[in-house]
């Protein structure tokens, strides 16, 4: 019996080197499997995984004349910033991640960037749009999405065209991302000559927006710009509808970009959302799938429609892969140099990073669109309504008054 055990152990030992011969690249990240960021984070996580599966099915990433399979190490950050720092440290020191992807949301990405810079690891960011972490002289951060200050510029421009005298209420979640977006939007609205009649933030954990909706009505606003992430944005939209606030224009961040938002029924109608990507956008990719191919393959695999978090997560992978292949090396500085030099177009749009030290890694070229919930063949769905050259339907203005 003893001998048998010995033999088995020897066999196991002998087998290990054979397994290790397969080259792998380890990418680490956290996702919010629980907590308030769950819905949005899931989209990004699926984007990452979808990219990994496709790369591995195609044989892996080509580095020089070798091929490397992609391996993920990920943890649930519970939507909590404190967890993020612990877990990213663990990803770097214990799990020996070669590269990092961002968690979801600006609030969680900021603490993660501290760790990635401290350990000199490249982090591709598709989940945090706030500019601040990129303005502290980093070397290894790269944001593939449009940053926060540009989120609502399309909405402001479109609103100005429809109603140059609009009275705007800014009502937004008290988190770093939403505050950054709305601070920029307030400037843009003022510059466009719109009148700001209310400017207020609320706690991200707010469940009853009744008092806020009453304040919006009291302010005589006819347009609302704001929101934050899924839970608060969806609740705000529902309560504005329940309380018949009858806004002519509503633009909310993030929440309406998720298909779940359609579950709100009539409360979703007419709501607009700045989106990093929609199924209707049509860029000519230099490589990788087209929008149609991506959407179809994703639908087949996950039985769900791809949204912008999925597309941006997937793009993180594509961008990193392209940089590694260009660099022909896994060396952090060589890959970072390839990322600095990158200027590519994928189905997600154009990607190029700012390289000056004060803004290193911020996105320079990607463009956002404005999507609106409209009735499409009797069912609620999103249409791209702005800018004019990308639109798939006309803008619905004003939003039809609520019926009860």
């Amino acid at each position: 019996m003893k001998r048998l055990c010995f033999l088995a152990a020897a066999a196991a030992l002998a087998a290990t080197p054979a397994l290790a011969q397969e080259n792998t690249i380890t990418i680490g990240f956290t996702d919010s499997q629980t907590g308030p960021l769950n819905v949005d984070s899931l989209g990004q996580q699926r984007g990452y995984e979808f990219w990994r599966d496709e790369v591995n099915a195609a044989g892996g990433i080509k580095v020089g004349d070798k091929r490397y399979k992609v391996k993920f190490v990920s943890y649930d950050d519970q939507s909590v910033g404190g967890r993020v720092q612990q877990l990213y440290t663990r990803l770097v020191t214990q799990d020996k991640a070669d590269f990092l992807f961002s968690p979801y949301s600006s609030g969680l990405t900021a603490p993660a960037t501290v760790i990635s810079e401290q350990y000199g690891k490249i982090m591709i960011d598709s989940g945090g749009a706030e500019e601040k972490p990129f303005e502290t002289g980093n070397k290894y951060l790269f944001m593939v999405i449009t940053s926060a200050s540009h989120y609502l510029s399309g909405a402001v421009a479109a609103l100005k065209e429809k109603n140059p005298n609009a009275k705007v209420a800014l009502v937004y979640s008290d988190d770093p991302f939403s505050k950054a977006v709305l601070a920029a939007a307030a400037q843009q609205a003022k510059a466009a000559g719109l009148q700001i009649v209310m400017n207020e933030s609320y706690s991200p954990s707010t469940t009853d927006f009744g008092p806020i909706v009453n304040k919006i009505v009291s302010s005589n606003a006819d347009a609302v710009l704001g929101g934050g992430h899924y839970s608060d944005g969806a609740t705000l939209a529902r309560q504005m509808h329940d309380q018949r606030a009858n806004m002519k224009w509503v633009s909310l961040l993030v929440a309406p970009a998720d298909d779940k938002f359609g579950e709100l029924g009539q409360a979703a109608l007419g709501v607009t959302v700045p989106s990093q990507w929609e199924l209707q956008v049509n860029y000519k990719p230099q490589f990788g799938p087209t929008t149609a191919e991506f959407a179809k393959a994703f639908q087949e695999k996950f039985h769900a429609k791809a949204d912008y978090h999925t597309a941006s997560g997937y793009t993180s992978g594509v961008v990193l892969q392209h940089a590694i292949e260009q660099a022909g090396s896994l060396d952090t500085d060589k890959v970072a140099a390839a990322l600095n030099a990158m200027d590519i177009t994928t189905f997600f749009g154009r990607v190029k990073f700012l390289t000056d030290p004060g803004h290193h890694g911020l996105q320079a070229q990607h463009q956002m669109v404005l999507a609106q919930w409209q009735m499409i063949d009797g069912k609620l769905g999103r249409q791209v309504v702005w800018p004019a050259e990308a639109k798939s339907a006309d803008l619905l203005y004003p939003i039809p008054a609520a019926k009860q």
């Binding site: 499997q33 629980t34 907590g35 308030p36 769950n38 819905v39 939507s79 008290d174 207020e200 933030s201 609320y202 706690s203 954990s205 707010t206 469940t207 009853d208 009744g210 008092p211 806020i212 009453n214 304040k215 009505v217 009291s218 899924y230 839970s231 969806a234 609740t235 529902r238 309560q239 329940d242 309380q243 018949r244 009858n246 779940k260 579950e263 709100l264 029924g265 009860q404």
Partner: protein
Amino acid sequence: MLGIFASIIDGVLVGLVYGLAAMGLTLIWGVMDVINLTHGVMIVAGMFALFLLTSALGLNPYVAMLPVLIGGFLVGVALYWISIHRMVGRPPLMSLLSTFAVNLVLIGVGTAVWGTALFNVEVSVPGISMGRYTFPGAHIVAAVLAAVIAAVLYLFLQHTRLGKSVRAVANNREAAELVGIPTTRVLAISVGLGVALAGISGVLIATLFPFTVLSGDGYQLKGFVVTVLGGFGNPVGALLGGVALGLLEGAVTPFVPVSWTLVIEFVLFVLVLIAFPTGIFRSRRGAL
């Protein structure tokens, strides 16, 4: 001016529901000096029961209250035997930990099954408009139902034999036992009632706002504030406490940024604790 008025009415409507949510908490505390930390998760259980009953069986949300009431009572009795029975009469920390453990288990199970995504139950009850302000129908119905349920509970406690037993046990358990009241059974029934109230308030809250598995914590916290305002262990006081809280929220929000309301609420919470250590509406010990 109309805006302030509307805000106050809205606050009172929602406050009645918060009051109902706190009633179960304070009932259990009053009867057996146990702080039931599963209260929040039981509210969430009520929300999800409503979601399942309306989406799977197509029940009217208000009809769904009946099965939740019965189910909640049974769950409460089970909860009593699982995590409270052996803790009664021990230091409060023991029952606090024991119910907290059950709370974590239930939240864990809920998260595994439903995730923490937002759920929404659509209720269409026509609202009432006052100028440009609208009070959603669901808010009015929920407030009225909360008041009715509180009244029924009051009548039950004051005028039925079982209700009187509950009060007797709350007042002095040993004396109650001496006169032949089956105290263990009364305790189990009280927890059953407390959980049933949590479930029902969950149903009503879910008709007002979207919810997640984790929503319970917020309502439980509000429950504590309401309990302090209304008096520990005084279910009818809890309803008044809820109204007071709603009034305060409604009266304050038009004048300060909304993120300050929570600060003001908790400052008040501390002040009330200092000035009225047993709550505003509490006159004497064991006055269920």
